[in-house]
């Protein structure tokens, strides 16, 4: 119980546990965590009671930290900016294991079979695979796209078959590494376009998309027929017009597909781009309040919630996917960095960094359901991610 005593909210946790010294018989399906980026803490949360039940410190630089879950949804793997990889037990509320795996990391993913956790790194650029049980290093793939030149890696996503897809910002390529033999990954390279900044895999695991910063368009690979290579969709969406400045890079993840269409942030335009998810042709655009950062579909696909880059990061807009129109504009707080839907989407949690709050909204009525204190919260990650392809 030493580790639990170390957590700040130990008292609360003990109440939850019922009796000190025993882990309660409970599932983790309604649990999750909130990154407190400034202080290297995470707050553990329960989405049924809409409350915090624990807090864990000593996690290093958590700016831009991201989280994936073990397939039993009990353990969270946190990838910190400083290259720290921490494994957290949601039930015992403690750090199980922590390694410093690189100098500068940007996120990670977990394999289809749950055995391999992969981190993507900016410097030295590349990916590293770890045993999810022990966090022992299994293998690495340096992103050396030309002899002696290493690229920052972005957009890492798990692909069925214990593969991972990712993009090389400096190399302009998409790489797919097959970890069927975790110690000897096999990598295939595909030219993608100028400066891919992030990537996503569709919820069915079939398509990998890499957003491009250096040109208008998105690179797309059909993972069922990878030999066909990457092609470009939504090309020239800027129509040659001058780009607006981008004060924060958008993020892509597999929640962008809803109602048969993909909803994607434009770069340098205050628009959400909409493409048919079978033909990949543009079907429309939605004008929004700023440079979109996260464009996230609710679990049922009926709504798309959008937050924005500085200086419009106090707004959040909701698009109805049936009409393709904005149905709600909210001001949840100052510097809204992230959003996360509860597993079936009746509520959404938003982090308002500069208000030191997490705010919870009802997705049907848009009523505010509550809020939680957190120290400069950024990412919110619920355990329901454990069962999703591409995370």
């Amino acid at each position: 119980m030493k580790a639990i005593a170390n957590t700040l909210l130990a008292g609360l946790l003990v109440i939850l546990l019922g009796a000190c010294g025993s882990v309660p018989l409970r599932g983790t399906g309604d649990l999750g965590l909130v990154i407190e980026r400034a202080s290297g803490h995470v707050t553990l949360v329960n989405t049924s009671t809409r409350s915090a039940y624990g807090r864990i410190g000593g996690l290093g630089d958590l700016s831009h930290a991201s989280v994936v879950y073990s397939r039993d949804a009990r353990y969270a793997f946190i990838f910190g900016r400083d290259g720290g990889l921490s494994k957290i037990d949601l039930l015992e509320g403690r750090i199980v294991k922590r390694v410093i795996q690189s100098g500068n990391a940007i996120g990670g993913s977990i394999s289809q079979d749950g055995r391999i956790v992969v981190a993507q790194n900016y410097s030295p650029g590349g990916i590293k695979a770890f045993d999810s049980e022990t966090l022992e290093l299994l293998s690495e793939v340096p992103a050396e796209f030309e002899p002696g030149r290493y690229s920052k890696v972005v957009g890492l996503a798990d692909v069925p078959g214990n593969k991972f897809a990712y993009a090389l910002f400096d190399g302009g390529e998409i790489w797919i590494s097959d970890f069927s033999d975790p110690k000897r990954p096999l990598t295939t390279r595909y030219p993608a376009g100028l400066q891919p900044y992030d990537g996503l895999i569709t919820p069915d695991g079939r398509h990998y998309l890499a957003g491009l910063f250096g040109e208008d368009g998105i690179a797309l690979i059909d993972l069922w027929q990878p030999e066909k290579g990457a092609r470009k969709i939504l090309e020239n969406y800027g129509r040659g017009e001058e780009k607006l400045p981008v004060f924060k890079m958008p993020h892509l993840r597999g929640w962008s597909v809803a109602a048969g269409r993909a909803w994607l942030p434009a770069i340098g335009r205050h628009e959400v781009l909409v493409a048919d998810a079978s033909t990949w042709k543009e079907t429309g655009r939605v004008a929004v309040k700023g440079q979109p950062v996260f464009v996230m579909a609710s679990p049922d696909g009926r709504q798309i919630w959008v937050n924005f880059a500085f200086p419009d990061n106090g707004w959040v807009q909701v698009i109805d996917t049936l009409s393709g129109k904005i149905v709600q504009t909210l001001a949840p707080g100052r510097a809204v960095l992230h959003m996360e839907f509860t597993p079936r989407g009746e509520a959404v949690w938003l982090s308002a960094r500069d208000d030191n709050r997490v705010v919870i909204y009802d997705t049907k009525t848009f009523a505010k359901l509550g809020s939680l204190a957190a120290d400069a919260p950024s990412g919110i990650f619920f355990s329901s991610r454990a069962a999703r392809i591409g995370f």
């Binding site: 630089d61 900016y122 890079m249 500085f310």
Partner: protein, 104 residues
């Protein structure tokens, strides 16, 4: 005027005394750099999509060039222009603080 800042101003060949931002504004600028520049340069300024902005990595670079980068951005890279939010004096103050070790 910050004592540490003086040599850099002279180095840059511009001994003009810049107006030091008010304490309240300094606080805002520190927040902006750590949080919003931090989304690309890292909150600890050790680099991310953008390069590290630490004394060691900036040492020897001309102040004016760095100020121009902040104000005007670098076309063709993700570094955006900040002139809508920062006066040139403020960008200069930021550069000098970055070169000396940025406040928390």
């Amino acid at each position: 005027m910050n004592i540490l800042a003086l040599p850099f101003l002279f180095l840059a060949g511009s001994a003009i005394a810049i107006a030091e931002p008010s304490p309240a504004r300094q606080k805002e600028l520190v927040h902006l750099v750590r949080q919003d520049c931090g989304s690309c340069h890292g909150m600890t300024l050790q680099g991310g999509l953008g390069p590290a902005l630490l004394p060691a990595t900036l040492a020897g670079k001309p102040v004016e060039g760095l100020v121009a980068t902040i104000i005007g951005g670098r076309p063709g890279t993700p570094m955006p222009p900040w002139h809508r939010f920062l006066a040139e004096d403020e960008a200069q103050w930021i550069v000098m603080k970055l070169m000396a070790g940025f406040p928390q």
